[in-house]
Amino acid sequence: MKLRAIVARARRGLRGDLRLYLVAVACLTVAFVCLGAALWGLENLAALHDRFAGPRRLTVLLRESPDTTPARELRAALAELVEVRSVRPRTAAELRDAFLADSALGEGLEALPADLFPASLEVTLVPGIDRERIRALAERIGRFPVVEGVETYEGWLGGFDRIVLGGRIVVGGLALLVLLSVLAVVGGTIRLTVAGRRAEIEVMKLCGATDGFVRGPFLVEGAVQGVVAAALATALLAGLYVLGRDALDATVGALTGGRTAFLAPWMLVAMWAGAALAGAVGSAVSLRRYLTV
């Protein structure tokens, strides 16, 4: 009953100051669109990183075909190692065919030489091996005469790690900025509504209303502002994503070898809940400062 009464009074307040709230929600929606877009970018970047990073692989580049005796001995030796899950031999011809099949320009590249790529062994490692052990393993494999080189992808993955970390820092900073803007916008809106409703607050206080009774609807109004802005931003981003998904997958997807995805449901729920909480907190902070009747 009490909550229902608070919500009913909040509804009345929202109706009464509708234009003010619309302006506030519009401002917050812009902020949440920025945050949502950044989260979307980071989520897809992280998914790409996970696709490339695990399970860890080594590519052992061979001086000769994998069918030769030294290469077969090396393959057998690798298969015996505890760090190795599987070893797959790839001939130069196989690699060239795979490249032509993957590339949209395959037909124009048929003149490429048969030994474009060196023969190799694709070594898949067991999960949980740290970089130090991979490095040591690569160094040991590299001592075999048949081995031309060992690619651990470490430099490439290290760069990718840094990009994802940078993305997370940027999104974290953006989330902080959005939080501050929610606090500021909701706080300012509530300040204005408190000034506009001074008469009714005074009436309520004179009739014996507790602080909770007076503040309750303002907190609800702050939370509503936050959650409506987050929901609008989500809807806007989802609409844009649906419209541009095909084009995005045709370009970015072709480069990364996967399809993009929209924000995960848990992330949407977290954003809405965070927005509601930030709105309520912004309202509470403002009430603490300006509700002095």
């Binding site: 009953m1 009436v203 014996g208 507790t210 009774f213």
Partner: protein, 279 residues
């Protein structure tokens, strides 16, 4: 009504439904607090040597004393700036006395904590010169707010508001916007809001100050009708013609003290003449 067994305001109000009009929501100041058994036999309001100073060179109250029994109608009068409003503000704890005690139903309101003040005010009906109604709310909403604060069920709120509006002569006008009503009607809305909770004491702070003489008499009559049902009324006014037209107890604020004149302004004038003659 066994007031000592009541545990919160809401229960008090609900019980009062079955026991009206002889009983009122009992003046306990905080949910869960129990009133003393003897509280019903004490004076409703007692001011003991109350002092209030805003400017050191001009104290507003200097040892004000007053006893108001249950069911009394008391005019508080005095010139503008004499401290009538301050006196009422001390009772509903908008102000705190510098010294002295203000006992409402035996409890010193000056010593109430901030969180207890709302529970004091739930037992008071307060009416102001400037009405203090919310103009963009409907008449119903302006009156119902006092009951919503008590978390009263919606059905009961509708019934009680309708009854209060009928008592003040605004029956059937609950849906109108308060801002479009005349001054006299707005004051009636304020009175309805003050009486809808059936408080122990009504404080009227110059309620006729913004009304023409005819409307002022109407509003005073309304307070008298409310008083006739057993409600104690403290009516602050500087309108001597209004006081002279009635035969209620009159208390005058003079130089920070409350001076008694028991039977209307005529009695007060007689008393002043006697005091002046003796001098």
């Amino acid at each position: 009504m066994p007031a000592t067994q009541l545990s919160d305001t809401r229960r008090g109000v609900e019980r009062s439904e079955s026991a009206r009009p002889s009983s009122r929501p009992f003046p306990f100041f905080r949910a869960g607090a129990r009133a003393e058994a003897t509280a019903g036999s004490r004076p409703l309001l007692v001011l003991e040597d109350v002092h209030k100073v805003f400017r050191p060179d001009r104290p507003v109250l200097r040892g004000a004393n007053l006893v108001v029994e249950r069911g009394e109608f008391v005019f508080i009068t005095g010139p503008s700036g004499s401290g009538k409003s301050t006196l009422l503000q001390l009772i509903y704890r908008r102000q705190t006395p510098d010294d002295g005690r203000i006992l409402f139903c035996g409890r010193d309101v000056a010593r109430l904590t901030e969180t207890s003040i709302p529970f004091l005010r739930r037992n008071l009906g307060i009416v102001f010169q400037d009405f203090k109604v919310v103009p963009h709310w409907t008449v119903f909403e302006n009156v119902a707010i006092a009951l919503e604060i008590l978390a009263m069920p919606r059905r009961l709120v509708r019934a009680r508001v309708a009854e209060a509006l009928e008592r003040v002569g605004l029956a059937g006008r609950g849906g109108e916007r308060t801002g479009v009503l005349s001054g006299g009607e707005q004051q009636r809305v304020a009175v309805a809001r003050a009486i809808v909770t059936e408080p122990a004491l009504i404080l009227a702070d110059e309620p006729t100050g913004n009304l023409d003489p005819a409307l002022a008499v109407d509003v005073l009559t309304l307070f008298e009708e409310i008083h006739a049902t057993g409600t104690t009324v403290l009516f602050a006014t500087h309108d001597h013609s209004l006081i002279a037209s009635r035969d209620h107890r009159v208390v005058c604020l003079e130089e920070g003290r409350l001076v008694e004149a028991r039977r209307g302004l005529r009695g007060w004038h007689e008393r002043l003449r006697v005091v002046g003659g003796a001098a």
